[in-house]
């Protein structure tokens, strides 16, 4: 469905050093520098997949999404979405896709969302029965009944995001690009949006490409992740495989009735955190059962869980690894 081959996106920025003389000089002669937003990435995504796009700020994620949706032209490389060349911006192509940007909105500000829905219906030429059916579904799934007839400016951020999603899906796109869709939303709204997106993908078989800084989004939605850093591909594969590779250890969380001695704990594994009520140990995969047995035998354990280390930690480790790698290479 989506095919990207050695995509490069460079653009020119003019340097402007501080100081009066430099400012004046920049009137007549400017020093250009090339920013390599995306510098040779390749990947393939099959129809119906849900893929997460991860990377630190400025890595090139949003740029890639914009190239895939035809908003930006690649500097070099080949990009194809469902057989189309996005940069041609054919009507047929545009009707199949949608880009949802968490920090910007397409809803008309002073009018109710229902007007934006009607406008989109006309622009995307959605047949009347299909429009009505889909609108009913979306209204029910996202609980929009009370929201769609109030002016957009009177809605809260979470309510706006729900309506924004509905407006984006009115024409039933086959490919959905989501750029930080849950940014700024409270926890329960994030969960609602995640559930909804997943359901849309499962019911319609649409392909999903999501960027987010919230690891919970990625963990909940994307079995496969592509990690981009400084415009190049860092990892492309299953999320749990990444976690296992970066942190081949598990976390054992113990809730104790009586505090335990530090010496006893250290014998069982690396102590990540320890307070009177709860102890977290980091233990190698193969030693987990041994540790669990010892803990149950020697400590007064009230509750015990075995978990993966948090995704945030894995990611920040991955990014800092890349940084040290590029710094040592430089």
């Amino acid at each position: 469905m989506i095919s990207v081959r050695t995509l490069r996106k460079h653009y020119t920025v003019f340097k402007r050093p501080p100081g009066l003389r430099a400012a004046f000089a920049s009137l007549f002669r400017r020093t250009p520098t090339t920013v390599k937003a995306v510098d040779g990435i390749s990947f393939e995504i099959e129809a119906g997949a849900r893929v997460g796009f991860l990377g630190p700020n400025g890595a090139g994620k949003t740029t890639t999404l914009k190239v895939l949706s035809g908003l930006l032209f690649p500097s070099s490389g080949e990009v194809r979405v469902d057989g189309h060349l996005p940069q041609r911006r054919e009507d047929a192509f545009l009707k199949k896709i949608m880009l949802v940007m968490g920090q910007k909105q397409q809803l008309l500000w002073d009018l109710p969302p229902s007007e934006t829905f009607a406008l989109n219906r006309a622009i995307y030429e959605v047949p009347e029965p299909e429009y009505r059916r889909r609108l009913a579904e979306l209204t029910e799934l996202l609980e929009l009944q009370d929201l769609v007839n109030k002016p957009t400016r009177t809605l809260s951020l979470g309510e706006r995001m729900k309506c924004e999603l509905a407006a984006a899906l009115i024409h039933g796109p086959k490919v959905l690009f989501l750029d930080e869709p849950t940014i700024g939303l409270d926890v329960s709204m994030q969960a609602t949006i995640r559930r909804f997106i997943r359901r849309y993908n499962e019911e319609t078989g649409a392909t999903l490409l999501l960027t987010s800084h919230y690891m919970d989004d990625v963990a909940a939605l994307c079995p496969r992740v592509i990690v981009i850093d400084k415009g190049t591909l860092s990892y492309d594969g299953q999320l749990d495989a990444l976690v296992r590779r970066m942190r081949p250890e598990k976390r054992v969380v113990l809730r104790l009735d009586r505090p335990a001695e530090t010496r006893a704990l250290e014998g069982m594994g690396k102590v990540v955190s320890s307070d009177p009520a709860q102890v977290v140990l980091q233990v190698a995969q193969d030693k987990v059962s041994l540790t669990v047995a010892r803990a149950l035998a020697t400590l007064s354990v009230r509750d015990l869980t075995v978990e993966d280390p948090p995704l945030e930690e894995v990611m920040s480790e991955l990014f800092s690894q890349n940084r040290t790698r590029t710094e040592s290479a430089a």
């Binding site: 020119t12 009507d91 009707k95 910007k104 002073d110 009018l111 009607a118 622009i123």
Partner: protein, 265 residues
Amino acid sequence: MRTLVRYFRLLQVQVRSSVLLGMQYRADFLIDGAVSLFWTATALVPLIVVFHGRPGVAGWSFPEALVVVGWFTLLEAILEGAISPSLTAVVEHIRKGTLDFVLLKPADAQFLVSTARFEPWRSTNLLTALAIWTVAFVRLGRWPPPLGLLAALVLLGSATLLLYSLWILTVSAAFYVVKVDNLTNLFNSVFDAARWPVQVFRGVLRWVFTLVIPLALMTTYPAEAMLGRLSPLALVGSVVGACAFAWLSRRVWLGSLARYASASS
């Protein structure tokens, strides 16, 4: 054919949005109307001063010059009601970065952007233009010849097309500048010269206002048509010129869009 129908239907939807929006801000239109009237009235002062105690300037008498002013006022009405509101919205889009949503839609960006907002109730100047013409022709002691009126109607179409194209050129500049507030200023300062008959300007400026920024085709020629002294050559030239200008402005718009897509991140 199907495309035409489709775009016509789109136009209907856009107009409906505008009407709904306008009903939200009713007080605004009263103020806008009053400001327009005030502007038109005070802008007559220089004209009165120029013609005070003289029979004519550059071959135009006071009532004849009033006809030109009437056309200027009419075009201002079209500008305020149909052109400025939507194109100002583009400038806002560019500033907030939401132009991307327009570009994502499977419809021509220029069309979407030009039909986004209509505010017909701001066109109080329509009535003012009619009033000015009435005064002018009463003073002249005659009425416009029917053929002249027909030619004037044709020129109304070409003048509107020219006005629209000029605005598209101005807005295309919005892709290159970061702070866009001065653009409206620029447009208005240049357009303001159209209230004078083009023959008043001499030399280079007259050529500029006829061929480069064709203000003459927008107000002077239609006025001459109404006064029954427009040459057929000028009429044909105006229509052809308007179409050529429209084609040029479309090319510039498309070029600016392409550059926007290549240059931003």
